[in-house]
Amino acid sequence: MAKSPETEHPVKAFGWAARDPSAHFSPFNFSRRATGERDVQVKVLYCGVCHSDLHMAKNEWGLTQYPIVPGHEITGIVTEVGNKVEKFKVGDKVGVGCMVGSCRECDQCTNDLENYCSNFILTYSSRYTDGTVTYGGYSDTIVADEHFVIRWPENLPLDAGAPLLCAGITTYSPLRYYGLDKPGLHIGVVGLGGLGHVAVKFAKAFGSKVTVISTSINKKKEAIERLGADSFLVSRDQEAMQAAAGTLDGIIDTVSASHPLLPLISLLKPHGKIVVVGAPEKPLELPVFPIIIGRKVIGGSAIGGIKETQEMIDFAAKHNILPDVEIIPIDYINTAMDRLLKSDVKYRFVIDIAKSLKPE
């Protein structure tokens, strides 16, 4: 007889889950595995609310296993370590991001690219090596293999820093990989949400000039005054877009909805690159001429490996890069999801798990 979420593991756990594609969250009793020899048990203090949490809660990608406890921007304190754990001890501040497992042997894993392993295990709604479903950070504890746990720098706040574990690495990794991290470049950021606002901060920290490209003029003041962008382009303003043609070395495109690529391609200098980190479901139209004539590139990127995630966290701590967050109690999560759908947040909700998540 199949074990229930409450009984399949020995350690009681409590969180909030969605039970079906209505994506309505409510309290959920489940359990965590015992701390294995290489595991770290973490008391969750904060968890960022990523747009992927909403996509998954609604089963928009067809991957969801219900009940789903999302959350992959997790910060907390170590409460127990397995006897072979070397990197952490009880009391350490740590983070857990989007992955909790991979095969550890393939080309990708041995090159610190666990995120591209064909057998990677996501922090939630994935199947772990013991066959059970993984549950994420909208919960009181999590147990993870130490390899996938991130050391948290002393000077980095656990609340505002939590979204770095997904939004941060998702934008940091491609800026590095595609060579868009050199001082003096001109980088465009399309979309000013969770991903976009962190992209602006990283690009500025790398010494770039940053232009935010958005459909709405309303975000201009924020972009320039609060986030430090150098300029702002409204993508529907054809004259402004034409005037900016051929000025960008690179573009980080965070927009998940379907959108035209040609105007963005035109903004690139020759040899420029567009990196897509949002995930539109349907294919986009690729005009081939401008790609060829200008030797331009369109590439993708998905989070980052563990080594690079640690590097990104340390970089953020050193350069004081923090996401802009709205702290919420767990019982606000359904309202938060409604607002997230309308992009009504500057720029990430973070659940104050420790203070607000109490078993019933």
Binding site: Y116, P270, A279, E285, I292, G299, A302
Partner: protein, 357 residues
């Protein structure tokens, strides 16, 4: 009157309307300037771009048009400032005959990306006159845009290198496809594709040809040296090859699905498109994001790199596989080219068959 704006008489074959049919055509070339080289044309390759252009498929043809940008010939005159060429030298002219020469891009030897680039045909030259290409008896070119042909390469068979060759060589270098042992897919086996296979083998790569025509398999493997052949319309073959290629050079000129090609790439794989379909392609985003894959473009190459490519061909004895034709066969050749009925480039024997009336 069109074609009489310059002072050296010239004769070639031109198209005058979108039927794309070529006829004998009298026109003129400029006097040989101090930086110029005048070339008696021996051979000219027939590039698929010539066909697109004579039919105005891209919408910017300015008739009458004398195509041809894979030119091999002999120097007959040199200007007073020309030091690198002398009369009698065997030289080549490719896709471009001019650029601003002073901008950052030109200074990086990337004249092909200069915003003021001048193409060998159908472009406006510096003096405001129209450029005419290699389906003609002579051409006058600035020395910077003239190339030396390695002694050991036969003139006719190396003509296609001047466009097809550089078009695949440049991205193979730029996108890092030169590490021995890596796996290259070549999509499309025509003028560009067959040269890409030869370069791939010369770089020490494993090469798989990806084609919709099973008939091309024997050629690909036995004649061109490809290691394997994949029929892209066969789902079972595609599935078996998924995630096996480090790079793909996509030479297909028609609209075609990218999703199957992206699926063939390993993680971090690169698809470089050098074919020019006349409509946009559909780009699925999920495979790019989940596999950190990229799609890039490339457009011929600068003069320094084109010379490097020719020297590479000289060293590795690489020439194109050609079918030599008379100039008066050109209209039939274009019909056959439209059906990909050529192995793998037509080359016009200009010197022996182009006679002025």
């Amino acid at each position: 009157m069109a074609g009489t704006e310059n002072s050296q008489k010239s004769f070639g074959w031109a198209a005058t309307d979108t039927s794309g049919l070529l006829f004998p055509f009298h026109f003129s070339r400029r006097e040989n300037g101090s930086d110029d080289v005048t070339i008696k044309i021996l051979y000219c390759g027939v590039c698929h771009s010539d066909l697109h252009s004579v039919k105005n498929e891209w919408g910017f043809t300015n008739y009458p048009i004398v195509p041809g940008h894979e030119i091999v010939g002999l120097v007959t005159k040199t200007g007073s400032d020309v030091k690198t060429f002398k009369v009698g030298d065997r030289v080549g002219v490719g896709v471009i005959v001019g650029s601003c020469k002073t901008c950052d891009i030109c200074q990086q030897d990337l004249e092909n990306y200069c915003p003021k680039v001048i193409f060998t045909y159908n472009s406006k030259d510096q003096d405001g006159t129209k450029t005419y290409g290699g389906y003609s008896d002579i051409i006058v070119v600035d020395q910077r845009f003239v190339l030396r042909i390695p002694d050991n390469l036969s003139s006719g068979a190396c003509a296609p290198l001047l466009c097809a060759g550089i078009t695949v060589y440049s991205p193979m270098k730029y996108y890092g496809m030169t590490e021995p042992g890596k796996h290259l897919g070549v999509a499309g086996l025509g003028g560009l594709g067959h040269v890409a296979v030869k370069f791939g083998k010369a770089f020490g790569l494993k090469v798989t040809v990806i084609s919709t025509s099973p008939k091309k398999e024997s050629e690909a493997i036995n004649r061109l040296g490809a290691d394997s052949f994949l029929v892209s319309s066969d789902p079972a073959q595609l599935k078996a090859a998924m995630g096996t290629m480090d790079f793909i050079i996509d030479t297909i000129a028609a609209v075609h699905p990218l999703a199957p090609l992206l699926g063939l790439l390993k993680m971090n794989g690169k698809l470089v498109t050098v074919g020019l379909p006349d409509k946009p392609l559909e780009l699925p985003i999920f495979p790019l994001v989940l596999g950190r894959k990229l799609v890039g473009g490339s457009d011929i190459g600068g003069m320094k790199e084109t010379q490097e490519m020719l020297d590479f061909c000289g060293k590795h004895n690489i020439i194109a596989d050609i079918e030599m034709i008379r100039i008066d066969y050109i209209n039939t050749a274009f019909e056959r080219l439209a059906k990909s009925d050529v192995r793998y480039r037509f080359v016009i024997d200009v010197a022996n068959t182009l006679a002025s009336n």
